[in-house]
Symmetry: C2
């Protein structure tokens, strides 16, 4: 799927780079470039991400506004291949169960094609060398704000920081079901999972998705 896509670096007119340089691609000249060149990455190279980079990424992820400075976050870093393999197996079990359920209920003609795509995507999610689970502690002073605001804000910063260092991420909610990560990683109930993301060098940077016209999204004074 990804092999037919042109790299975003190339399409943006940046010189083609060696495999390693294309990973930790160029120092961005502006944060606006980082915004524009972050894409959801669904397949990774196995190359290691140094722990120093993970710490730098998580250090950035704790800087968004947080209600009354409560800082309710936990960032769970997972590299253990055995655990990653178990999450993969459990996620595939869930997909196959859904296939069987769908087959039993008057399935659409493209059912097989859809599940083939879902399997390929899921397979890609488990190719990264490292994962970060973004959690918020329900025992913080303002748990409702933590879930609604502090949590996703931190995840947004995390993805941008990773992109700035040349890594891909993808904001996974259903992609790796919460129940699977909770079970395999033994995440206590007191933590709410915001999302989890692989971090790694993309197999390829995907093409940017088509976007609505900016004018559709801005309103002045009234809706």
């Amino acid at each position: 799927m990804t092999t037919t896509r042109r790299s975003l670096c190339l399409s943006a007119g940046v010189a083609a780079a060696s495999p390693l340089a294309s990973a930790a691609d160029p120092p961005f000249t502006s944060i606006f470039e980082v915004f524009a060149r972050r894409q959801s990455v669904r397949r990774y190279k196995p190359d290691n991400v140094p722990d120093e980079h993970i710490r730098q990424i998580i250090n950035a992820a704790r800087m968004p506004p947080t209600t009354m400075n409560q800082q309710p976050w936990k960032f769970l870093v997972v590299r253990d291949r055995e655990k990653i393999g178990r999450m993969r197996a459990r996620t595939f079990e869930i997909i196959e169960k859904r296939v069987e359920e769908a087959k039993a209920k008057n399935p659409p003609p493209d059912l097989e094609a859809r599940f083939k795509a879902a399997r390929e995507m899921t397979d890609g999610y488990f190719t990264a060398p490292v994962y970060v689970v973004v959690l918020v502690d329900k025992q913080c002073p303002y748990p409702d704000y933590a879930l609604k605001n502090d949590g996703p804000l931190a995840a947004g910063y995390l993805m941008l920081a990773a992109r700035a260092l040349g890594y891909g991420t993808v904001y996974l909610t259903d992609g790796i079901p919460e129940s699977v990560s909770r079970e395999v990683l033994a995440i206590p109930d007191r933590y709410h999972r915001v999302c989890m993301t692989p971090i790694g060098i993309p197999d390829l940077w995907p093409e940017p998705k088509p976007k609505k016209d900016l004018k559709e999204l801005i309103a002045y004074e009234t809706l």
Copy 2:
């Protein structure tokens, strides 16, 4: 309140700048600096923010991941002083009502001091030249994801983009109650308000808040 605070620019060792330059302060050399130097700003100078900057900020705000590329956002830009004045008056009515309610119920000894601080903060919120209300459309394909993920992610990007251009913001939820903005700005029910933020040149950049040690927030393999 803010006059006793040292500017973050100065404390970060950046040369003192003229009033205008301190606003649109230096081109950042790295996104990590932007993360670190965004602070919640609670009082603004009246200087204009050009519409070109507002568009650049909102253009960045629509670039986070969005479930199935649904892009459920609306960014409502408000500069009308009459509307801003009405939101201010309505917000103060709510505060004064809360003071009366608190007084009627065995109030704590520092009640007056607390409400003095709340009034000063609220007064500051209404000093900016322009406001952006971040909304998501409940009629999008995946409204639940829009509320939980797409919405706050866009607000996070928006604040970073504003900071990169030298402006302050503050992620307001209760600071300007949703009911107030909904009434004065005639926001239809189909839109969920994520937050609203003033955008402007800070009266002063606040000192960074004390933060937990990074080690408290990271866990490896298990919690």
